[in-house]
C-alpha cells in the first residue's frame, strides 16, 4: 500500500492505495462517490470519465498511485450545494437523459470542453463526447444540451427546447 494525497471535488484526502488500484475503484469504493460508472473496465465506454486537473480522463484506466497531488472533479462535484450546473440543467431541459448510466461521463467531458473552449463548434462538441458511448439516445439530445450551454456562453439565448 502507498499513501497518496488527492483533492476530490475540493476536499483533500489522504488515502492508502494498492499499486494496482484504479482511480475509479478508489473514488467509488473508498470515497463512496458512485456517480462514475464501470461500464467496461477497459477504457472503451467513457462511463468512468472524471476530470483531473482540467482534463477529462478514463478513471478505470488510471492508476490511483499516479494521481498523487492531483485535483479531481467527479459528477458529485459539479453541483456541490444542490444547485445544478448549467450542463446538468440543460441535460434535463433537453431530455438528454435516458438510462442515465453514461450521463455523468458525458457531462464531465462536456464540462472539460466548455471550461477550455467556451464557444465550441458542433463538430468540437461531437468530438468531445465521442469517447462517451451512449446506447439509448442516439446522442442528438446530448448534443443539443451541450450546444445550448455553449450558445449561452456566446450570448445566444436558447431556452427549453423540446421537439
Amino acid at each position: 500500500m502507498k499513501t497518496i494525497m488527492l483533492t476530490v471535488n475540493g476536499e483533500a484526502y489522504e488515502l492508502a492505495v494498492a499499486p494496482n488500484d484504479m482511480l475509479l475503484d478508489v473514488i467509488r469504493d473508498k470515497l463512496d462517490l458512485t456517480g462514475a460508472k464501470k461500464g467496461c473496465d477497459t477504457g472503451a465506454c467513457g462511463a468512468c470519465t472524471v476530470i483531473m486537473d482540467g482534463e477529462p480522463i478514463l478513471s478505470c484506466m488510471t492508476l490511483a498511485v499516479r494521481c498523487h497531488g492531483r485535483e479531481i472533479t467527479t459528477i458529485e462535484g459539479l453541483a456541490p450545494r444542490g444547485e445544478l450546473h448549467p450542463l446538468q440543467q440543460a441535460a434535463i431541459d433537453h431530455n438528454a437523459v435516458q438510462c442515465g448510466f453514461c450521463t455523468p461521463g458525458w457531462l464531465l467531458s462536456a464540462k472539460a470542453l466548455l471550461d477550455g473552449n467556451p464557444h465550441p463548434s458542433q463538430e468540437e462538441v461531437r468530438t468531445a463526447i465521442a469517447g462517451n458511448l451512449c446506447r439509448c439516445t442516439g446522442y442528438k439530445k446530448i448534443e443539443d444540451a451541450i450546444s445550448a450551454v455553449a450558445g449561452r456562453n456566446q450570448g445566444v439565448v436558447k431556452g427549453k427546447n423540446r421537439d
Binding site: 462517490l33 458512485t34 456517480g35 462514475a36 460508472k37 464501470k38 461500464g39 467496461c40 473496465d41 477497459t42 477504457g43 472503451a44 465506454c45 462511463a47 467527479t74 459528477i75 458529485e76 459539479l78 453541483a79 445544478l84 446538468q88 441535460a91 434535463i92 431541459d93 431530455n95 437523459v97 435516458q98 438510462c99 442515465g100 448510466f101 453514461c102 450521463t103 455523468p104 457531462l107 462538441v125 461531437r126 468530438t127 463526447i129 465521442a130 469517447g131 462517451n132 458511448l133 451512449c134 446506447r135 439509448c136 439516445t137 442516439g138 446522442y139 442528438k140 439530445k141 446530448i142 448534443e143 423540446r162 421537439d163
Partner: protein
Amino acid sequence: MANTDLDSVEQYDAIGTSPDRSDAKSKATGRAVFIEDMHFRGMLYGKVLRSKFAHARILSIDTARAEKMPGVRGVVTGADIPVLHGEALKDDCFLARDKVRYRGEGVAAVAAVDEETAEEALSLIDVCYEELPAVFDPEEAIKPEAPLIHEQLGAYRHAPGIEPISGTNICNYFHLEKGDVDKGFAEADLIIEDKFTTGMQQHCTLETHCGICLIDDDNRLTLWATNDSPYRTRKEIADALKIPQINVRVICAPYIGGNFGGKGGLKAEAAAIALAWKIRNKPIRVLFTREEEFTSAIVRHPSVIYLKTGVKKDGAITARAVRMYFATGAYAEKGPTITRFGGVSGAGPYNIPNVKIEASCVYTNRQLSGAMRGYSGPQAAWAYESHMDNVACKLGIDPLEFRLRHVYTDGDTHASGQEIYSEGLKECLEKIGERMEWGKKSLGRNRGKGVACMERAVKTPFGSAAFVKVNEDGTVDLLSSTTEVGQGADTVLCQIVAEELGVPFDWVKKATPDTSTTPYDTSTTSSRSTFHMGNAAKAAAADAKGQILKLAAELLKTNADDLAIKGGNVYLKDNGGSSLSIAQVLGKHFGHSATVLGRGFYYPHLEVPVEYFSTHMIFWLLGAHGVEVEVNRQTGEVKILKVYAAMDVGKALHPSNCTAQLEGGVSMGLGFALYENFIFRGGDFLNPSLLDYKIPTALEMPEIEPIIVECAHEEGPYGAKGIGETTNVSLPPALANAIYDAVGVRIHELPITPEKILYALKQVSEKKTQQRADADPATVGNPFGGKK
C-alpha cells in the same frame, strides 16, 4: 376501430406535454442508484468459470483446490443445482451439467470475500473435457448428420404453441398459411426469389448484467437484479427450484442502465442463484464483465431468410413464401417466441392474398440468442424490405409507390388471419416521402434514397396491474412492476396517473418494482408498457378518483357526478370557485390517518382463443425509415446524409420521449446495418470488447428527422400504442435500398461493410464489361434488369 377523434375532443393537462423526466435530475447529478452502487453487509462476490469449448462432454470437475483457497466461501457446480429453467422452453441449466454447449457457458462458480479472490480461485478448478463436434450455422444444424446439441429436447417442458422437434436441433417450428400459395404462384407473371442473412448484434447496455441473491435456510430467496421483468423472473425461478412463488422475492435495482430486451430471464442472476442455493444466508453478487456480456449474456439471433414473391406485370402481388431460420445458440432462451413473432411478420405489412411462412428456431454451439430491440423484427424487415425493393425494381415500379399500393390498411386481413385496425403505417410512409421530396429532388452522383417500413407484434395477451396510493397530502404513489430501463416508463405512467386523477405531474412518484409490494406485470418488453401498464395505471387512478369524489360529495352534500378534480383540488363542475384539496377531503373524513387505494388491472381480450403468444395482436407496432446516402465507389464507404424516422405511436403521451426513442433507434439500427458483428474463427470469438465491437459514437450519427404519427387506438390509454421496441427495425433495409439507388448494388448480408460494397461494385463492373463484350446494350449497367 381507430379512434381518431379522441385527441381532438379532450383537453389534457399532463398528456401530450413533455414534462422533465421524473428520473432526469437524479441521473444528471450521479445520485441515481444502479445495482453496482448497492452493497449489503457480509456480501460475497461471485465469479464464473466458463467453458473454452463450443461443445464438449464434462468428464470431471475438481474444485478441491479452489475451495481451500483463503477468502473463498464456496464453489458450486451444475451438480449442486441439477434443475432446468427457461421461459417458453425449459432447457437451460444454472451451470453446465454433463456437457457444455457453447464457448462461454458457466461450468462452475466461486463465491469469495472479494472479486479478485474469486477470480483467482477459478484458476484452481480443474475441469476435464472431451471435445465433441460442434455446429455453428443454422442451416448446417438442421441437417440430419449435424451433431445433436440437446439429446433430451423431446423431454423438456415447454409452453403451449411451442413445437420442438425431438431428435433434431430445431427447438421450435412455426408455420402459417393464408390462401393458397401454389395457386398464387401459378397465377404470377414473374417470380422473384431472394436470400438474406443477418449477423449477431449485442445490446451493449452501458451497465452490465448483475444479480445479488440471498437464500435463507427456509428456501426463501431474495434477488436484487438488473432485471426487466420481476414477475416473469420470479416465475422462472420458482418453477425451476420447485418452491412457492411467495418464497421468491425479486427486487429491481432502482434504475437499470439500459435493457433493449437483454436483461430478461436469468443471466448473471443464474450464477448468483446457483451460489446462493449452496451458500445460504449470505447475499452473493455476480456482476458480469464487459467480456461476459459478449460471451455469456445474449445476442440478437443471426438469421437466414428465403423469400419468394409472385407478381403480375401490373404490380399485383399474387403470393409470397417465406422460409426463416433463427440461430438461437446453445439454449432456447426466448428463441421459440422470437421465431413465432418473426414468422407471424415474415411476409411484411402487406396485403398479399396467398402467404406461406415457415420459421425454425435452431440450436447452434454459439452464445445464446434472445430478446433484443425488435425481437425478430429487424431480421424479418431486413429481408422483406430489401426484397420489396428488388421486386419493385424488377417490375420497374417506384419502390415507395409499390409499398403504398400494397401496404395493408384497416379492414384488410393480416397473414395471421386477423383483421387490421388502427393502421398508421401508410401515413408514416407518406410523410417520409413528403419530407424526402421523393421522386422530386435528386441528390446527385453516387447518392441515393431508400425507404423501408415494418410491422411488429406486441406480445398478446398478457396482463398488467397497478395500485395507486393517495397520501394524506394528496401526493400519489404509483405501485407498478414496470421497470425504468431508460425508456421513460416511470415518467409516462406518472403522467397517466396525474391526468386521470387530476393532480399535478410532480405529485406522482412510481415505486421501484418489488414482487413483495408492487403488483403483477408480465414484463417490461415488446413496447407493451405504455399500453398495458398505462391502462392499468389509468384504471387504478380512476378507481382512486372515484373514491375521493364519493368522499367529497358527502362533504359538499352533492353528487359525485357533479364533481371533478384538477390540480389536486376537488371542485363543483358548475362552479369552479368552490373547491377542496384532496388533503382536505381526506382530512375532514379521517383526521390524520387517511389514505385512498386505487387498483387497476388490464388484460387484452381478443375474439380468438387464448394462446401463449397469440398470432392476433391487441395492436401492431408500425413504422418506417427513409435514408439518404452517399457511397464512395473507391473505398466502399457509406456516408449517411440524413435519416427520416417515423412511427405510429397512437398518441404521443410524452412527445419528447417519442423523438428520443426515434433517435436512439436510429443509432442502434445504424450499428446493426453498418458495422456491428461478432467475428468468429471456428469456435473462437475474436472481438468480445467495446474496443473491437464498435457501436455508434456521436461522430457516426447523421442528421435525424423524427416523425410522430398518431393513429389513435380505441383501447389504448388516451389512444396510445407503443414505440421504443421498433425504432431501429426498418432502418437497415432503408439504408440498403438507398445504397442500391446510389450505386446499383444490392447487399444481401448484414452488416453492410465497405468490403461487401466494393465486392458488389466489382461484380457489377465485371458484368458490365462482359455485357459490353456480348454487345447487349439493353441491360448495361443494371445487375437486375431494372431502373439503374
